[in-house]
């Protein structure tokens, strides 16, 4: 179970306000003489407190969409409003600040720095924000406690399991108290039980008000979200709420543990 430390969760956005509002975005890539149309007019709004799963086959445009949501890429045309601010024309420096302050990233391969401890990994985003050393340490410790790894602060990634490493990555994503958590196939490298454990972390954070957007290929994992968007050929083909959404904590009780 997760520690219940409400104080370090992102400032909760009013539930009705659209945290993410994307209007008719297109994205092209030039591959030699070929022009690939990755996104063909995507419009969607994600409100504060939502938990959205993005699904779709490879090449459907979901990763491009995720990169744009994460301000790692800019749309070719259209608008992207993050908390009401149009960020689609921001320069690189402004986008870096947004990534640092408003967005938390979780990746499939954890992407922890191998030669630094869990605590130092979690502190990483605060190195690029104006935070005192004391505050940095406090925030990182609190974020680790939130994902249930307070006792692993001084461990190196190589001394932790995949699930624990992904929890450290989630703590790193939370340390600057972002508005949204973006996860790109966060369970792609994990076994079934550990995947559900990560979903438990996401559901708990979402219950506390954090907006979560997650790319996944697995239907079972997408079921833990509140809403599923399905991409195909650069467009959203399906946008529907999840009915009979399972609670990860309940599902965990039915799964065998390592000792079984």
């Amino acid at each position: 179970m997760l520690a219940t430390n409400q104080s370090t969760i992102a400032p909760i956005t009013a539930v009705d306000a659209a945290v993410i509002c994307v209007e008719d975005i297109h994205k092209y890539y030039e591959l030699g003489e070929t022009r690939v149309h990755a996104l063909r007019g995507v419009s969607v709004a994600v409100h504060g407190g939502e938990f959205v799963a993005l699904m779709g086959a490879s090449g459907s445009g979901k990763s491009t969409f995720m990169n744009i949501l994460g301000c790692l890429d800019r749309p070719g045309s259209g608008r992207y409003l993050l908390e009401g601010v149009d960020v689609s024309q921001h320069d690189k420096r402004a986008l870096a600040l947004i990534r640092n302050q408003k967005i938390g990233f979780v990746f499939q391969g954890f992407n922890l720095l191998a030669r630094t401890t869990a605590l130092e990994n979690v502190e990483l985003p605060t190195l690029y924000s104006k935070v005192s050393n004391e505050e940095r340490h406090t925030r990182a410790s609190e974020a680790l406690a939130m994902v249930g790894l307070a006792d692993r602060a001084e461990h190196f990634p190589s001394q932790m399991s995949g699930g624990q490493q992904q929890r450290v990555a989630v703590a790193r994503a939370l340390v600057n108290r972002p508005s949204i958590l973006l996860a790109d196939e966060p369970t792609g490298n994990l076994d079934s039980r550990t995947s559900v454990e990560i979903m438990e972390v996401f559901q708990d954070l979402n219950d506390k008000g954090l907006t979560v957007v997650m790319v996944t290929h697995e239907h079972d994992i997408a079921e833990f979200a509140k809403r599923v968007l399905v991409f195909r050929d650069g467009k959203i083909r399906k946008d529907e709420p999840v009915r009979n959404r399972p609670r990860a904590s309940e599902v965990l009780k039915t799964l065998p543990t390592l000792e079984d």
């Binding site: 391969g109 992407n111 690029y128």
Partner: protein, 125 residues
């Protein structure tokens, strides 16, 4: 004149060595750079980090050179019964040259690191 020529060539060779080490470091740490950019590092921050590491590397080289010079002078002085004289100016100039070599030869790798596309960097295997 001969000494200056030897010193210059040594500096250039050492500098190229530093540049190579830094270029390998940038390649090996491509994913790390991607993560740093994803969590909010600006191009300037990445550039400064790699430039700093390059300067540190050259400063360590400079310090080793100064130490080698002192030990060498001492041994020669002892052997030939010469009085050893330390020149503070020479040490300062050596340190300054080390920093300059670090900045000059670390600039290109630092530029390369800061201009990596974060999306590509995060996918790098």
């Amino acid at each position: 004149m001969l000494l200056i020529a030897i010193a210059s060539i040594s500096l250039i060779v050492g500098g190229i060595g530093i540049m190579n080490v830094m270029l390998v470091s940038v390649t090996e740490r491509t994913r790390e750079i991607g993560v740093r950019v994803a969590v909010g590092a600006t191009e300037e921050a990445i550039q400064l980090q790699f430039l700093g590491e390059s300067v540190m590397l050259s400063l360590v080289g400079g310090a080793a050179g100064v130490l080698g010079g002192i030990v060498g002078s001492y041994l020669v002085g002892q052997t030939l019964k010469w009085e050893m004289q330390m020149s503070v100016e020479a040490v300062v100039v050596a340190a300054l040259f080390s920093v300059a070599v670090g900045v000059f030869f670390g600039y290109y790798p630092a530029q390369k690191a800061s201009h990596l596309d974060p999306i590509e960097a995060l996918r790098y295997e």
